[in-house]
Amino acid sequence: MEDKLTFEIPLLEMEEKIRLLVEKEGETKNSAKLTLLLKKKEEEIYQNLSPWQVVQLARYQGRPRSLDYINIIFENFLELHGDRRFGDDPSIVGGLAFFNKHTVMVIAQQKGRGVDDNLFRRFGMPYPEGYRKAQRLMKLAEKMKIPLITLVDTPGAYPGIESEERGQAEAISLSISLMLGLKIPTISVVIGEGGSGGALALASADKILMLKYSIFSVISPEGCAAILWKDEKYAEKAAGELKLTARDLLNLKIIDGIIEEPLRGAHYHPEQAARNISESLSHHLNLLRNLPLDTLIQLRKEKYLKIGKL
């Protein structure tokens, strides 16, 4: 799996130079100067990220995972397991938690860290039983009259033989329908990859928010390039054409807000990223909580029925 942020190389080289300078000569004028240059370079690179570079950031192995955020943002997260039909899919985690002293339901796609964990979490690609667990927890949230918060981070639903045998399409379709019909406030935050229908199954919410360096796409740039250009090498070009960055989705009136990330990405300062998510969740949840139910439902209807009418 490609996991190098190639556009970071100039910055890493400068950092190395500064480190050596400081090591050799202690704090010097030169290192201070270089640090200033580094700051400038950082801003220059990060203000002009190409869509493909954002894709690389969104997929970066070191990026905080759902459970990292959950542990910072929520209190007393109690994971609940299983779909009661077939099994328990570790690529989707869910459970009860406190957010600002209120009970909420959290459902999230969980990618792994390192080889073993990634195999265990299937790189965040859910099986049908993952979506069916999510459905069960969505219904529980509705019954308990607590808000639903989802964190989205998946390359897509797992494309396997068993997935098809167990009804991947049905599982996704029903998750979308069910989420859209919930009589509770729902908020989704895309924290990394929003890969196709497998992501939409957890993102059909009243408010959809995206971290600044996350993506949401109908198909992976590689998949798109393979089909339309007949060559995966055009993935970089496809990433631009697909309009998959948070800014694009805001312009297309699909999402409701972009959550700032620390400079150089969430992995540089996970606590700061988590605080930003938390603040945004607070803000949107307060707005939604204060709406009468029929207004909430009406707004959701308007939001979804107007998509694509630009």
């Binding site: 098809e164 991947q168 109908v218 029925l305 998509i307």
Partner: protein
């Protein structure tokens, strides 16, 4: 036969099989090869047999008008929103611009989008109908396919009728990016409303039905039928093979495979499709 004579011969005896404004311009008196068993069949015979191979039972792909002609009572189908057409909102360009692709698809098929919607009668029961056409950009779902479906869903709901959607699609249309993806949610939202009125929704999955269409309205139906032999799945077989490095089992993702795993209600031979739909509509009427 000289080329000119052959061209004249090709041009003359055309059978107009049409519905509404759409006509098929395939000449009737030629021999064509079955796409499956390669047997030569007189086109007239194939057409009479609803494009099901007389030798091997292979269901050849139908255009949306051909399908409507087969299932609707003669002269009852009235199209809605025929003029709704896609725009190149993202200015998408691969080896060709999306704007050009739309134009060419329109020219090739004679209609304006990958789905034809309207109200009609089947076995003298009035229904709302949406029929997808794979010939129009692979039956892909963009914003207009979503909008046409949503409109026919609410129109059918207003008239208190059952809804039938015939699917044939490679999935969401890449050239409209996330706008296509979110049509899945848009359509499923409308179907939630439809369902809340206790109205019946039947989907018919034809060859092929994959991707975002399968993972939204195709599988949101109350009763799901599939044409014999149809390929139906979320991920395409090639993607699955590449990801898993496994050899796919015989008949994988075909209609019977899904029936055996409890994913659809019935596998239907095309020649029995109208009768099966009529049968279900009778039950719907008798409640």
């Amino acid at each position: 036969m000289k080329l000119l004579n052959w061209l004249n011969w090709l041009r003359k005896p055309k059978v107009k099989t049409g519905i509404g404004n759409y006509t098929s311009i395939v000449p009737d008196n030629i021999w064509i090869k079955c796409e499956s068993c390669q047997t030569l069949i007189y086109y007239h015979d194939l057409r009479e047999n609803l494009k099901v191979c007389t030798h091997c039972n292979y269901h050849h792909r139908l255009t949306a008008p051909e399908l409507l002609l087969q299932i609707c009572d003669s002269g009852t189908f009235k199209e809605e929103d025929a003029d709704l057409t896609s725009r190149d909102i993202l200015k998408f360009k691969d080896t060709q611009s999306y704007a050009v692709k739309i134009k060419e698809a329109k020219k090739k098929t004679g209609f304006s989008e990958a789905v034809i919607t309207g109200l009609g009668q089947i076995g003298s029961y009035r229904v709302g109908l949406a029929v997808m056409d794979f010939n129009f950009l692979g039956g892909s779902m963009g914003s207009v396919v979503g909008e046409k479906l949503v409109r026919i869903i609410y129109k059918t709901m207003k008239e208190n009728l059952p809804l039938i959607v015939i699917c044939a699609s490679g999935g969401a249309r890449m050239q409209e990016g996330v706008l296509s993806l979110f049509q899945m949610a848009k359509i499923n939202y409308a179907l939630n409303d439809f369902s809340s009125k206790s109205l019946l929704y039947i989907s018919v999955l034809t060859n092929p039905t994959t991707g975002g269409v399968t993972a939204s309205f195709a599988y949101a139906a109350d009763i799901i039928l599939a044409e014999e032999g149809a390929l139906i799945g979320f991920a395409g077989p090639r993607v699955i093979e590449q990801t898993t490095k496994l050899k796919l089992p015989e008949g994988f993702q075909r209609a019977n495979f899904l029936l055996n795993r409890g994913m659809i209600d019935r596998v239907v031979n095309r020649k029995l499709l109208k009768a099966t739909l009529t049968n279900i509509l009778e039950f719907n009427h008798g409640r």
